[in-house]
């Protein structure tokens, strides 16, 4: 008996009992579809997270000064253990283009008199050129703070769209020099404008007195503060996006390891967000697998259902088995016939289950999008949910269906094959 004949026979016996075959499949359908849905939620979550955190270039390398593990006498990090600007400049010179410094120092609030003679409050922050892209803000007019602005401590500034509208509603603010007063009194020339949707919305709603940031070179803010040579306990670096952040992290780590070799109690630890994200993604993976396994319990229940029906089927077809054996069917061909039938029931159930699971996942994905748009509209734009079915889960599901058919079909099949032809023929 060929394989194809086994399959034909299995379909013909399933046609005999359509309702029963479907109910048997239902257990498998539910099991497989829940496994597929849960694993798809897992992969989708993973892809969404990695796309929104890693994909936007928000990866940074964090340098942190910490105590060396082996020394218990010193429990405090002192100023001489800190990372100096020279160290950072050394790193940048040694590996040109690999890193950008992300700096943000809040200076104070300052008052500006607008062209209409209104008093207006701004928050002053010293930044470095990499900060804007790091904090996902866009320069929409003019230019960013440049590295020359930073190194030469130039009196340049970035202001918000809203501030421009308030300061000089009719003409561009770029190129104008504005005076700030308060704790620090100084003048800066506006070189660029950054977009700020949220405050712009507030402004358009009629809220006039909105405090926004004015960004100046961090070297300028340090000079104003009177601490020309900065030391840091914590530094953020933006790695070259075209290079592997892990390699750049290790490179920075070994650079600082060398510098801190002779420091008895402190060291610098380099860590990139990618690593943290990876840990997070692994957690998602583990959770998805764990929940899939819980869903897989229903597959076992489905398998028991298949076994039950196959046993009934064997009893029902006792005389058929007898005839087949009398006509020369061997043990193996009877066994094969019943196992094929069980496998086909499971495989059809599995296929329907995969379809239902995928359909359910896409539905859930659409639902998540709608929920996100209504509940958190301001982040919805930056989060792109793309339902990503797990190919591995689909392959495993198909294999699982076959396996369940073989496992739960083999005991009824063995029973059928072992029948004595004479007893089977006599059976009415």
């Amino acid at each position: 008996m060929t394989f194809f004949e086994c399959i034909k026979m299995a379909f013909s016996s399933m046609r005999m009992n359509k309702m029963r075959s479907f109910l048997t499949m239902l257990g498998i359908i539910i099991g497989i579809s829940s496994v597929i849905t849960i694993s798809t939620i897992g992969t989708t979550l993973k892809k969404t997270v990695s796309d929104s955190v890693l994909g936007t270039g928000a990866t940074t390398i964090d340098l942190q000064v910490m105590l060396k593990d082996n020394n218990s006498n010193y429990t405090r990090i002192t100023k001489k253990d800190m990372i100096t600007e020279d160290m950072i400049n050394g790193l940048m010179e040694k590996y040109p283009g690999d890193y950008e410094l992300v700096t943000y120092n809040f200076l104070s609030e300052g008052e500006v008199i607008t062209e209409n003679n209104d008093a207006y409050v701004l928050r002053i922050a010293g930044i470095q050129q990499g900060y804007m892209s790091y904090s996902m803000q866009k320069v929409i007019k003019g230019r960013n703070i440049s590295s020359r602005d930073v190194s030469e401590k130039k009196h340049t500034a970035l202001v918000s769209e809203v501030f421009e509208k308030q300061y000089s509603p009719n003409e561009s603010i770029i190129g104008k020099t504005i005076s700030l007063s308060g704790n620090y009194n100084f003048q800066v020339t506006v070189v660029g404008i950054y977009g700020d949707k949220k405050t712009l919305q507030q402004y358009e709603l009629g809220q006039k007195d909105i405090t926004t940031f004015i960004y100046i070179p961090y070297t300028l803010s340090a000079k104003l503060k009177g601490t020309p040579s900065e030391v840091y306990g914590y530094v953020e670096l933006k790695p070259n996006p075209e290079k592997n952040p892990d390699i750049l992290t290790k490179q920075a780590q070994s650079y600082f390891d060398k510098l801190y070799e002779r420091n008895e109690h402190a060291k610098v630890h380099a860590l990139n967000y990618g690593e943290i994200t990876k840990v997070f993604l692994t957690v998602i993976d583990i959770l998805a697998v764990a929940f899939s396994l819980i869903a897989a319990i229903s597959l076992i229940v489905g398998g028991v259902g298949v076994m039950n029906i196959m046993l009934v089927s064997v009893v029902e077809r006792t005389s058929e088995i007898g005839i087949r054996k009398a006509l020369g069917a061997k043990t193996l061909s009877i066994k094969r016939q019943f196992i094929t039938e069980a496998v086909i029931i499971c495989l059809i159930g599995g296929t329907i289950g995969i379809g239902a699971g995928l359909g359910g996942s896409y539905l859930l994905g659409a639902l998540a999008k709608v929920l996100l748009n209504t509940m958190a509209p301001d982040v919805a734009e930056s989060i792109n949910i793309v339902t990503t079915p797990s190919v591995l889960a689909i392959i495993i599901s198909v294999l699982c269906s076959i396996l369940i058919g073989v496992i739960f079909g083999s005991s009824p099949a063995k029973r059928a094959a072992k029948m004595n032809p004479i007893d089977a023929l006599r059976f009415e």
């Binding site: 013909s12 058929e320 005839i323 054996k325 009398a326 006509l327 020369g328 061997k330 061909s333």
Partner: protein, 233 residues
């Protein structure tokens, strides 16, 4: 004269061996059937003729004694080896036809050939020829439940002939049929015996049918009480 196809030597069949209700159905039966013989086995119900037929058909094993079929000793054969012999050497015709439902006449006739591993094309051709031979050429694609008793029995005779077996074992083949169709079936058996030279063993309780055969073996209480030539009347 011709060679012996079936050689049964001192066969005993006991049911429920070793239990309280142990029952010996066949007592030391010895039969020799030659090639081309048309033999009938008669006896009242409970005489043991069905048990004997099951042993001859290799559906059941004797408790003791020796059964040689075509010079092959079948005593120590495994189940699958017995299946193989049934498949190629014995054609069964049952009282209740035993066709497989939801398979048409053609497929039913193909079944023994399928288990023998003959190709689809070859066995369809052969099955068509056999069905035409028994006069069922125009009903090849009917399901068993669309056929009358006589038609079903003709299909099962075609099936019994599928692998060109040496012997045909017919267990009350006309038992479920009326006289006219029963006659037709008997005519087919005569034809197979005369023209195709098949050895036919007919199990029946009817003396009339037995008288048509070459040799009548009468069984009573598990013993052979007479073994003589037919065509007496």
């Amino acid at each position: 004269m011709s060679e012996s196809v079936i050689h049964i030597d001192n066969v005993v069949k006991t049911f429920n061996v070793g239990m309280e209700n142990e029952l010996e159905i066949l007592h030391n039966i010895s039969i020799d059937i030659k090639e081309g013989e048309f033999v009938s086995v008669v006896g009242s119900s409970g005489a043991g003729k069905s048990t004997l037929m099951n042993i001859i058909g290799l559906l059941d094993k004797p408790t003791s004694g020796k059964y040689t079929l075509n010079d092959i000793d079948t005593s120590n054969m495994k189940d699958d080896e017995l299946s193989e012999i049934r498949n190629s050497q014995i054609g069964f015709v049952f009282q209740t036809f035993n066709l497989i439902p939801r398979m048409n006449a053609l497929k039913n006739v193909e079944l023994p050939m399928m288990y023998k591993g003959i190709s689809q094309r070859e066995r369809t051709a052969k099955a068509r020829k056999l069905l035409e031979m028994v006069g069922m050429g125009n009903r090849m694609f009917h399901q068993p439940n669309q056929l009358s008793g006589g038609q079903k029995q003709r299909v099962s005779i075609a099936r019994a002939m599928a692998n060109d077996p040496a012997i045909i074992l017919a267990d009350e083949p006309t038992g479920a049929l009326d006289t006219v169709t029963g006659r037709m079936i008997m005519d087919i058996f005569h034809q197979l015996n005369k023209e195709n030279g098949k050895t036919i063993i007919l199990i029946t309780h009817s003396q009339e049918l037995a008288k048509e055969t070459d040799r009548i073996i009468t069984i009573s209480d598990g013993k052979i009480i007479s073994d003589k030539g037919g065509y007496e009347s």
